[in-house]
């Protein structure tokens, strides 16, 4: 749907480096950072809070897990300050599985990121699901060997994060709600803006870059590619195989599922079904088959009844 204009080739994302970074070799290069995200494509990344859940996720076919102390649905209930998880708990999950393990740092909390890098997590999610640590600045993600994924609601936000060094982008959606509406809004917003870019000449691109607060080089590259210049997943509200397939048909490269799996009645079965729905996202018959008898999904929350929206968090001015 976002009309991937050019055929994706293997170096497409690595070339984003010329727009954001200098050339290097060895560890922590841009090519290996975007490369891991390329390997995750067509996959499902699942939130887990224990080694046992991590194993269930791995056996169900997750391509990575996100290690957390509390899943978003519970953070919402408690309404407390949410921070990086206990490193020991993350190490326990790392020891339990062979797939990549991601963990969340608070927005702008560059020391939490240093700690997560030190214990060898495979990706850091600088996440709005945790309480922001800095109301103005994001982490300078170029300073790390470990790659980062960041959330976005629109194209300007996505490109600002990439400019700061994010090698992987996801929609913000509204985590912990089981409601897909915000993720759809954010995916459609990015897609729509990219479609607008395609009709612009260079003079107009300069002005558009200024309007959306994004670097010109990345705006131009996005126009030329017809898509974001890094891998883009859906996140925030995916609860069913149909939700996952919807996001894939909207042009996402894969999905994060947070509360949707372990807050449902039959996590293992639902996890397997969502993995299959991402591979066969255009096949209605497969989607029907995998959607059968999954037990109840997590209880969803209507946006109007949400006390606090994380995606558009007013505490964070510099999104």
């Amino acid at each position: 749907m976002n009309g991937h204009a050019k055929v994706l080739d293997g170096t497409t994302f690595a070339k984003t480096e010329s727009a954001v970074n200098g050339g290097e070799t060895g560890t922590g290069t841009w090519a290996v950072k975007v490369g891991l995200a390329q390997m995750l494509k067509g996959g499902v990344i699942m939130d887990v809070v224990t080694p046992e859940q991590a194993k269930i996720a791995e056996e169900a076919g997750a391509c990575a897990v996100m290690a957390l102390e509390r899943i978003p649905a519970d953070i919402r209930k408690n309404g407390e300050v949410a921070r990086m998880s206990d490193p020991e708990m993350i190490e326990g999950i790392k020891a339990a599985v062979s797939i990549p393990v991601m963990a969340k740092a608070r927005i702008g909390h560059f020391v939490e990121a240093q700690i997560l890098e030190a214990i060898g997590v495979d990706y850091i999610d600088e996440s709005e699901v945790l309480t922001p640590a800095d109301e103005v600045h994001h982490i300078n993600k170029h300073n790390y060997s470990v790659p980062f994924v960041c959330g976005c609601r629109n194209l300007g936000e996505a490109l600002r994060r990439i400019n700061e060094g994010a090698a992987f982008i996801r929609t913000k959606g509204e985590a912990g709600t089981g409601n897909i509406v915000e993720a759809v809004r954010h995916a459609r917003s990015v897609n729509g803006e990219i479609r607008k870019l395609k009709g612009m000449d260079e003079d107009e691109l300069y002005n558009y870059a200024k309007t959306i607060g994004a670097p010109f080089a990345l705006v131009k590259q996005t126009r030329d590619l017809g898509r974001l210049p890094v891998v883009q997943f859906a996140a925030g509200g995916v609860a069913t195989p149909a939700d996952a397939a919807l996001m894939m048909q909207l042009g996402m490269d894969g999905v994060f599922v947070g509360s949707g799996i372990f807050k449902s009645e039959n996590p293992k079965k639902r996890a397997e079904a969502i993995v299959k729905s991402v591979t066969h996202y255009k096949d209605g018959k497969v989607l029907a088959e995998v959607s059968k008898n999954l037990g109840s999904a997590m209880v969803g929350i209507e946006m109007d009844s949400l006390v606090q929206k994380w995606a558009g968090d007013a505490r964070h001015q510099a999104a």
Partner: protein, 209 residues
């Protein structure tokens, strides 16, 4: 390189699209003029001249290969001579022995022993130039992402490139496997070599009939 881009246009290469960087492999085939055929279920295997197992998560791809019942058919096709090329996770899925993870559902058609995540976690992922025995000492740029290592090879396995003591690109008859990702570079040599293997196995097949 002065190659003729049409020389592979009669080849239909199945690219396993269960999970991973299959789009990058298809793009590489497109650049070389071959046709990429998406493989998401067993009936897609009909009429292909070769198959590529992409990079990705080997546990995910292995599970889906088994669950969609692609595994036995594809395994037999490769054993019968279908040219197969695997990178990273693909290499793991082709390996006869996987150290410490023998339960991984996989093709297991190639006489090599591999270790998953041999270099550590993502912070240890790296890119480097490796020495290619096959291309007479020319360099190959290897992007290694949570890469496996090939720790031992059987008698029929030819080592085409190495990094230090370890083989990183190997061939056994109709099969090629590497632990790095040529599909993430502009270098088409490894894919060209594979298409030559496809050509060979196709000709052998034609002779049999």
């Amino acid at each position: 390189m002065g190659r003729n881009v049409n020389m592979y246009e009669d080849l239909k290469i199945g690219v396993l699209e269960l999970q991973g960087d299959f789009a990058e492999h298809s793009a590489m085939l497109g650049r070389l003029g071959a046709h990429a055929v998406p493989i998401r279920s067993v009936e897609h295997l009909v009429g292909i001249d070769g198959v590529i197992i992409p990079g990705g998560e080997s546990t995910t791809i292995g599970k889906l290969l088994r669950d969609w019942d692609i595994l036995p058919t594809l395994k037999k096709m490769i054993a019968d001579g279908l040219a197969c090329f695997g990178t990273c996770a693909g290499c793991i899925l082709m390996a006869k022995d996987v150290t410490g993870y023998d339960t991984l559902p996989r093709l297991g058609t190639m006489d090599v022993t591999v270790t998953r995540n041999a270099y550590g976690s993502q912070v240890d992922s790296f890119e480097t130039d490796v020495l290619s025995e096959f291309w007479k000492g020319e360099k190959l740029h290897a992007i290694n992402i949570r890469a496996p290592s090939i720790d031992a090879v059987g008698e029929g396995v030819q080592i085409l490139a190495s990094f230090g003591e370890k083989a990183v690109l190997v061939r056994e008859n109709n099969m090629i496997a590497c632990t790095f990702h040529p599909e993430l570079t502009d270098d088409t040599r490894v894919h060209e070599l594979y298409l030559e293997v496809v050509r060979e196995s196709k000709n052998t097949e034609a002779l049999k009939n």
